[in-house]
Subunit: 155 residues, 4 copies
């Protein structure tokens, strides 16, 4: 099916003129991002990228990034992708997400990208992809499907 | 349907006599657990509990535990529940998990419990529950369904 | 953690006095249930059971119930478990579900049980279990986690 | 991240020279496809499309395709996408899938597309998309993430 079948306007038009400041301020309040060393490296309507350099204290038993750390950055990438499209005065809530681990998260950098698939009045559905960068080569190490809820008048 | 319909023997009998030491050594190698302050507080065949006291640097924008931190401990609780039943010399791999967030993870302590639902030769299916303890009251804040893979002869 | 920690009142009290008639009428309008031969065999606040006798035309390539047929009855069992608790005049919508297939759906009867885990104002989270009955023995063949949305004033 | 980062060869090269006949014969044995009227309309290494014309007896309470019917065709589309890449003599097993319902499955035709994301020795991860076609317009109505298992020497 042609991807153009999905009307892009439903997905990409922010409803809050201050969406960028709103999202960046919320990210700055996520103290866990500072703990692990994650940064928001790209933000656009319906899209968010978060990067996380490798640190030895973020690892599981084999020395790779722990799947929970992967999910921490991709849950936030998906959540903030969705938040860019929510109305002024609302907050974003993760309802659920599902993460498939495709390969070991083995690299000097993790890159998580969140992208809105469907932006409804209350629910926003996103997809997340995570890549492990090692010696300049990217391995697709995880994929996520996520449901967000718009909390109206809660910010 | 009666739960007794599921033959408990398929679920609860460890195949590695040293299962407890194997699991505890693997947990001790997950450096991220030290970073966030998580401890394994119970371990039995097919079951694992991990506890995480609140810290301000584990939070999302509202001051609750970040969903990624919740998933970090419940992914490990499910993974180690499954690992208790795997044969000697194998390692455990998270294939995927799905987490529903039922309530804000608001409390002075998070408790994650992993329980094996089905232990097959290669795949192990677990369920995880997470409770937020606040003033002695437990709120069921997340529920997980997880698929694990037994990596034979990989430990 | 004690299951009693979850306040039962939030889960089990219907908000629509006519919940049973509402749910049964909705199920009767699901024509696909007649096509496959499924029946609602139990209904209580927060709980629903659907049974489906084996038929050769419901099978996958090995002669077992097709996973899509399993998901058809467990999606409805979860959905109607949730619908029992929704306010008068609302309708129920499946937002998403996740199904783990634990064993072949091999038997003369499938039994799907839906149970509400959390009933919020807009979202309801359920769990579903499916058992295959063969020669009087029940095998736990699938487990589901599901998110429902209350569509207020839509019935 | 560049999609070219994923080596296409790992994904697209069939290991069984008779993959097409193997897959089509398996689909022909799924009797439920005949019951509901579904057809396999495209097949390529790592890809499968299944189409299902509307019928009144496939509907839920609102008159749209039932979510279980949607999952029936997209589970098979993902499963056969994966099966195209499995070795000779193996069979395919759905381990789990997760379906997000993005819009009502309202149309005269449903089109389900399965695509392999990662093809490992034992596990294959796929994505599925479902479109509802109404008056020539396609609406993206569901998205799936799925895990398959290769059953070696089981066909």
């Amino acid at each position: 099916m042609p991807h153009t079948a999905r009307p892009a306007s439903r997905i990409l038009e922010p409803r809050d003129p201050d969406w960028e400041a709103t999202v960046r301020q919320s990210f700055a309040r996520q103290k866990v991002m500072k703990l692990i060393g994650a940064e928001m490296t790209a933000l656009a309507p319906g899209h968010c990228e978060i990067r996380l350099p490798f640190r030895d204290d973020l690892t599981q038993q084999k020395g790779y990034f722990h799947a929970g750390i992967t999910s921490t950055i991709v849950d936030s990438a998906g959540g903030y992708a969705g938040y860019t499209l929510m109305p002024k005065g609302s907050d974003v809530l993760s309802v659920e997400f599902k993460l498939n681990l495709l390969a070991p998260a083995d690299g000097e950098l993790l890159v998580a990208e969140g992208q809105v698939l469907k932006s409804g009045r209350n629910l926003v559905i996103t997809r997340g992809e995570v890549y492990a960068i090692k010696n300049g080569h990217a391995t697709h190490c995880a994929t996520m499907q996520q449901t967000l809820m718009t909390m109206h008048d809660k910010a």
